[in-house]
């Protein structure tokens, strides 16, 4: 199900900087600490010629999956706060297809941004997942536009509009975090 999170942008930037620094210096111990790895997982991190090599593997590979999973978990803990979760599996389809929303170029563009994985850092993206980011201004404008249209929206979109109001500042949408 699609969820909305409030994003602490400086915290995410700080996390990305710390992660990049550890990967550049190939500091396995520091990376294990950052990702809260212990035991055999921390040991496995040292097995590849470079730490970065683990993050070139597929997210779904059994060897690398725990590292990607830890990355997302820690990034979420540091920078994201859950604001709302949809109860409707049809929400994404409605957001992408509902004609009243699609007919308004600005609303459609903001929704597309919120559902575009290319707008999130690589460590928050999961293959096949729906996710994206919208800045505070765009999020507030989209929430206001949807509130104005509420009478014409189906229940899942009306609930989404209320969920957007719950978000504080920048919004991240994700269905697999």
């Amino acid at each position: 199900m699609l969820s909305l999170y409030s994003l602490d942008r400086p915290a995410l930037q700080a996390f990305a900087k710390e992660l990049k620094g550890l990967l550049l210096s190939d500091d396995r111990e520091g990376l294990a600490k950052l990702l809260e790895l212990s035991g055999s997982l921390a040991g496995r991190l040292a097995e590849a010629p470079r730490a970065i090599d683990w993050f070139l593997r597929a997210d779904t590979s059994p060897e690398a999956a725990p590292f990607f999973s830890s990355l997302r978990r820690i990034a979420k803990k540091r920078a994201l706060t859950l604001a709302w979760t949809s109860e409707e599996a049809s929400l994404e389809g409605r957001l992408r297809q509902y004609d009243i929303l699609r007919e308004d170029g600005e609303i459609a563009a903001r929704i597309d941004k919120l559902l575009s994985p290319a707008r999130l850092p690589w460590f928050l993206v999961r293959p096949g997942a729906t996710c994206g980011w919208l800045d505070a201004t765009g999020r507030a404008q989209l929430a206001e536009d949807l509130r104005r249209l509420r009478a014409t929206l189906p229940p899942e979109l009306a609930a989404f509009a209320e969920g957007l109001q719950e978000v504080d500042g920048d919004a991240v949408a994700h269905d697999a975090l």
Partner: protein
Amino acid sequence: MGFFDKAKKLLGLGADGDDAQESEGEEHAEPGDRLAAAQAKVAARSVAERSDPRVLAAERAGKLDPRRKDRRPPLVEAAPQGPSVEDALAAREAGDKDGAQKILRDIDRGGGLRTVLRAAAAMEAGDKAELNSLLTAVANEEPRYKLLLQVAAALDDAEAARPYIERAEAHKAPAWALGWAKATSKDPAVVREGLVELVFADHALARTVGARDLKLPGVEADPDAGSRYASFVHGRESIRRFGAKAVAALLDEARKVGGP
């Protein structure tokens, strides 16, 4: 008139006048009448074709195949494709530098990789007149950083590559391009730095470079980065086969006339 015909008419694609009346008339005709009408139409077309001067001329020239009912001329095999950069590189590798230079002259379209290799061949052959006629085009190649990074990656020598990477950085090379050039260095520390930069700039491309260029175990190319990878790698491999040092020397020469 059906829905789609109405839509076509609204779009200006529908039949007008006589044709429209004819088709509407056909729509309401009995099956026997329709067959007769179709036969009459074929006969009329046949007469019209026979009296068409173009058909008569083609018939006289023997270009029409009488065995074919549709009277189309026989299919002619497509002309073979002209020489390519690949042919020029193959000629050089076979030791025929003059032949390669001639091919590069023939295929040059005034810009891009063909012009760059033609200019490098002219420089190598000491043909100053030809080199000077091409140098401005080489100097103005866009994007400005691309050739520098392709040469840097093709040099296979971290020290020799460094100035070209620095020049590319000065010409606003994007992080993914710089990361890629560094990732294919011979210096392990530079490779690591390049891979990290590439992962943060373009994760799909990083995976593809890891799989294809570095052949890292357990890493697979990402189809999302296929076209981005191909657009850079063709130039790099062609420059490597031509001789990266010769192309690097050309870029240094082009710099004197405003190149990056």
